[in-house]
Symmetry: C2
Subunit: 248 residues, 2 copies
């Protein structure tokens, strides 16, 4: 058996309580904080990531994540949404925190801690109007070297995505409003890096009842066109808690 001590509701000791909280906070080191967005897209049956050229001389030519320093009094998630909006014009995107990166030497300009956010967006909805810094989609698998520790960050986010997409049907954020089952399966195969059985895949999604047959067909495909579906957001929102552990 385990023994433990149970807290009693003592009055706290009166001595040593800190009154000047501002002074307390000011006495500690401060660090610049950035957010970095790993923005995934899907196109031509490949997982893509949106990158820019680093604007640091020492990383000349290297690719970099879309990030920025957090402003005063800006919540970090807000900062991440701001970066997304500034760079892509998108506001209504999926975004989730993945983790912090705080190795002391990770930034050449001194200590900078970054929080990585993962964002999924539909390349089609999105024009990349802002061509500053050569904003481009990159095939995820082709990315080798990057500025800072950004390669480590995108690898972490990729693993996060692989896990997350099996728990929640996030993949829809990467697809157009109308998509075929084949496109959906290609997406899953691209992200998970495995081949899936077509019949079982379709059966699985059919049983989840998350797809609405919109009665249209693919066009301009060089073979028999497939049905087009849209995602049943209502149903998903209702059953959100359920989607943990989707196996294919």
């Amino acid at each position: 058996m385990i023994k433990s001590s149970i807290p009693t509701n003592h009055i706290p000791k009166k001595e040593g309580l800190i009154t000047d909280v501002h002074k307390l906070v000011e006495s500690y080191p401060r660090v610049p904080i950035t957010v970095d967005c790993v923005i995934f897209g899907f196109d031509e049956n490949e997982l893509k990531v949106l990158l820019i050229r680093s604007d640091l001389e020492m990383y000349k030519g290297k690719w970099s994540l879309l990030g920025d320093f957090a402003a005063d009094n800006e919540e970090l998630k807000e900062a991440a949404y701001r970066v997304l909006k500034e760079r892509t014009g998108m506001t209504d995107v999926y975004l989730e925190e993945v983790g912090t990166f705080s190795a002391p030497q990770r930034h050449p300009g001194g200590r900078v801690i970054t929080v990585a956010y993962c964002s999924l967006l539909n390349i089609q909805h999105h024009e990349l109007k802002i061509h500053a810094n050569e904003l481009h989609w990159h095939s995820f698998s082709s990315i080798k070297e990057m500025a800072f520790d950004h390669k480590k960050i995108i690898d972490t986010c990729y693993q996060w995505l692989q896990k997350r997409i099996q728990e929640h049907p996030l993949g829809f954020n990467l697809l157009p409003d109308k998509f075929s089952l084949r496109e959906l399966q290609n997406l899953y195969e691209a992200i998970l890096g495995v081949q899936l059985d077509r019949r079982n895949f379709r059966k699985k999604f059919a049983s989840m009842d998350l797809l609405i047959d919109i009665g249209e067909m693919e066009e301009d495909v060089p073979h028999r066109p497939g049905k087009l579906y849209k995602f049943n957001y209502e149903k998903y929102e209702k059953n959100k808690r359920k989607w943990v552990g989707i196996d294919f």
Copy 2:
């Protein structure tokens, strides 16, 4: 079909590259960073959390997480381990990042961003030698109000734990070296907040082959004693990738 632009390997534009990276970093706001450890234990069939009294006058009497400001050039995970060691004397504990909390007003002394870490430890292995600030184990379910946004943080960590324990058999970190199946089940029931079928629970763990029967029995229990087991760490390490989605 989706269209996209593919990046070509251009030479980056020569103008506008930043050379003085230190100056760049210095031009941005800085924030004090803390780590907060949500330390779970298990005792008397209850999930427990290790808390101290806040040493801030304005939170007099309120309970607070174990946390500290990050030191210069200290990686945040390191800082979390340091806090654990300073407060509990424990070094070899399970610890994982859960998330950041960055609401501008979350700390009364000015902006402080915190990163929450979740730690699981075995109450038995641990003597709470350090009695500063009334370090105590609290029944998780009894915690109502806390200093700062710490209630929000522990709630987030609890949800994280509920999810995580179903993907990986983390619960062993909370148990003594030797435990009975009943104790293990109690742990799962306490964390998940549900009753589990005893036979199915045992069958499940038997099939995972993670328990080693050490040939001993419980002692001093007021009923038929159960067998004692230890956790098969080797097997677990080998099959780590497999443990996603344990259902009971």
